[in-house]
Symmetry: C2
Subunit: 395 residues, 2 copies
């Protein structure tokens, strides 16, 4: 039992212990690794005698591997339950309000999947009306593509509305995107990489993936629809991708494992295996403070272990700090759709918000916040924190 | 006039001076920056008193900017013309045969374009027979997508044939790619990055791009054709991308500037500007030592400055070490096509090689080597070295 005095419904108790990178400022020095406990961050370099936590990113720690991740988590749990450690630990706790959170890891490659059947079906209906909503390959492999790593930003970073080309009557027009959107997604960061030529089986998912976080894959739908054939999304997505600052360790999500939806047809053997599990994460999307969607991650057709197995089946290597995201999380219900494109049905059915405002796509000044929780072992829930961002007008 | 005793037709005389990263091994220590002179590499850390050249990549030097690139090039030129420096410089020359060449820079993001009209037209005819060969957007913007940075390898690295899903009669099949291909491309590396939200005008191309090199964007055509709709190429390309070890400074290519092909329709203003120039690079592709193609880079529809302007027009930032490639370089003639897909017309017209062998796609053991030269100021030519790789059987 912890000596921490947290409210019983805290999403950041000892069952969670997500890692991040914080900066206390002043005499307290530069960026280093912390663990979120309640509304504080525990300065790991101060309580554990290991320079890996004095690094400005999680990469060095993530590269140490699963046995070490377990050992450090057990050690932190000890510190939070051993009354004799209390005084020392309390000296190393900083209130969240007094620190600045940074990008938690140095990003290598970023792959974005398209793993929600509800999302892909809705988008197929909107973009290819009259045709089959899902492409013939969709149920055989998790569709994915590479995103831009250099424009991954931490939650809170403002997002400037991108300019670009849109389809026009006779020639394309150019200007600020008129169909700016969010996409509520879940991200998975590689801790231990894999060498070139060696695929990672789905069963080894937990040996490679360090943890889980939230992603907002901002998307300019008008730029996307004009540029995307034949080589896929490019400038419609590359202007910014926001991530939440806390990485929830995979170990904390063991109680959240659920059976994923049945897959029919049966996927090829390399996509099967014991690591093939779903996760019962409950996402929530707020627009200017008002809930507009509650996407259920448990409904995702392809699982994170399958995504990793697919991403490497061609022999592609992975590195510490590579991450992949699930693609927009959308459930079967209307209020479970993970982007405005679906929520407003391409603008045909604008979304009415509780405060009386109406949205088909994002307006300047709009703030989008994605949060999530998952079941914890003690019957309570753990939290992911949030990924938030406000839209600035095109510069 | 240089004191170097090089053959008059050397491609690596004082008009070139490309940068790379080499390792001499033994007592001579680890990776550091060198300049190729004839068939030797000049150890820059030994002759210029600057720790930036003792780094294991070009990134730190590239980040110093154009004025510094010019100054260092001028200094090296001085050393190679000043007879008094000869003895010292000769002590710092290592024969190429005695060093190992490494990836010349740490790769940030990798974007691959699709900028050859001949290539895009041929591919359109092959993949969408009966339809318009070019998509409606093609002449309005340089189509591009993000590739995988973590699998960029230096010339000489063997390439293992990837496994993956291919389209089947009723269900996809799985196994080693049966349509493995090369793509002869030209790459451009960012020296000085640009901040988020600030597009780089075409006219500022030479302030950001440090230099030019050769790229082989290995492609598995069967994997590609099955996975590519709707989000573009992914595993068909992500298993390996090979790059040549020498980065030819943009300054050395001033004499290679040519007027690019006319663009009709006139592109949007952000794609115009004084930096919009073509480069007269003559590529050559050899398969097992036999020339199979001579792609002319001067025929590219979109220029490198336009690619950079497009890539950043949405506000995407760039970083030192980001690079972008042109896409397959194909000229109008049959023997100027930059990939086997075009050379064998999708396998319908297998390529006959001088040694009597026949190829539609690459076989295990095949070696592909791409070289290039460009006009130099003195009426001679400068070389890019080569990017080469041999196909290993699927593991």
């Amino acid at each position: 039992v912890t000596w921490l005095e947290l409210p019983p419904d805290s999403l950041f108790g000892p069952a969670n212990l997500p890692y991040g990178v914080f900066e206390a400022g002043g005499r307290d020095g530069g960026r280093r690794v912390g663990v979120r406990v309640g509304d504080s961050v525990l300065d790991l370099a101060a309580v554990l005698d290991d320079p890996v936590f004095a690094e400005p990113s999680l990469n060095a720690f993530m590269a140490q591997g699963r046995a070490r991740w377990r050992a450090v988590r057990a050690r932190i749990t000890d510190l939070l339950t051993d009354g004799r450690a209390r005084k020392n630990v309390e000296l190393a706790l900083r209130p969240l309000s007094a620190v600045r959170l940074h990008l938690p890891f140095e990003v290598g490659d970023y792959v974005d999947f398209y793993a929600s059947e509800n999302h892909a079906t809705n988008v197929g209906r909107l973009f290819r009306p009259g045709g089959e909503p899902l492409t013939p390959n969709w149920k055989h492999l998790p569709i994915g593509y590479h995103g831009r790593s250099g424009t991954v930003v931490v939650s809170g970073t403002p997002v400037t509305r991108p300019r670009g080309q849109r389809r026009g009557e006779t020639a394309p027009t150019f200007g600020p995107s008129q169909r700016l959107d969010f996409e509520a997604e879940v991200g998975f960061v590689i801790g231990v990489g894999s060498p070139l030529g060696v695929p990672v089986p789905a069963s080894e998912f937990a040996d490679h993936v360090f943890g889980v976080f939230l992603v907002n894959d901002w998307s300019a739908r008008d730029i996307q629809s004009w540029e995307t054939v034949p080589l896929g999304p490019f400038l419609a997505k590359s202007f910014a991708t926001s991530v939440s600052p806390w990485i929830v360790p995979l170990e904390a999500l063991a109680p959240a494992q659920v059976r994923p939806p049945p897959q029919d047809p049966q996927p090829l053997p390399y996509l099967a295996g014991p690591g093939h599990t779903g996760f019962d994460l409950a996402l929530e999307v707020r627009l200017n403070g008002q809930v507009v969607s509650r996407p259920p991650f448990a409904t995702m057709y392809w699982t994170p272990a399958q995504m990793l197995a697919h991403m490497t089946v061609n022999g592609a290597s992975t590195r510490t700090g590579d991450f992949y995201a699930s693609g927009t999380v959308s459930g079967p219900d209307r209020d479970q759709r993970g982007c405005l494109l679906e929520l407003s049905w391409g603008g045909a059915e604008p979304l009415k918000l509780p405060d009386g405002s109406v949205r088909s796509f994002l307006e300047d000044g709009d703030e989008v916040t994605i949060t999530a929780t998952a079941p914890a072992a003690d019957g309570g829930r753990i939290g992911f924190g949030e990924v938030t961002g406000r839209i600035l007008p095109a510069g």
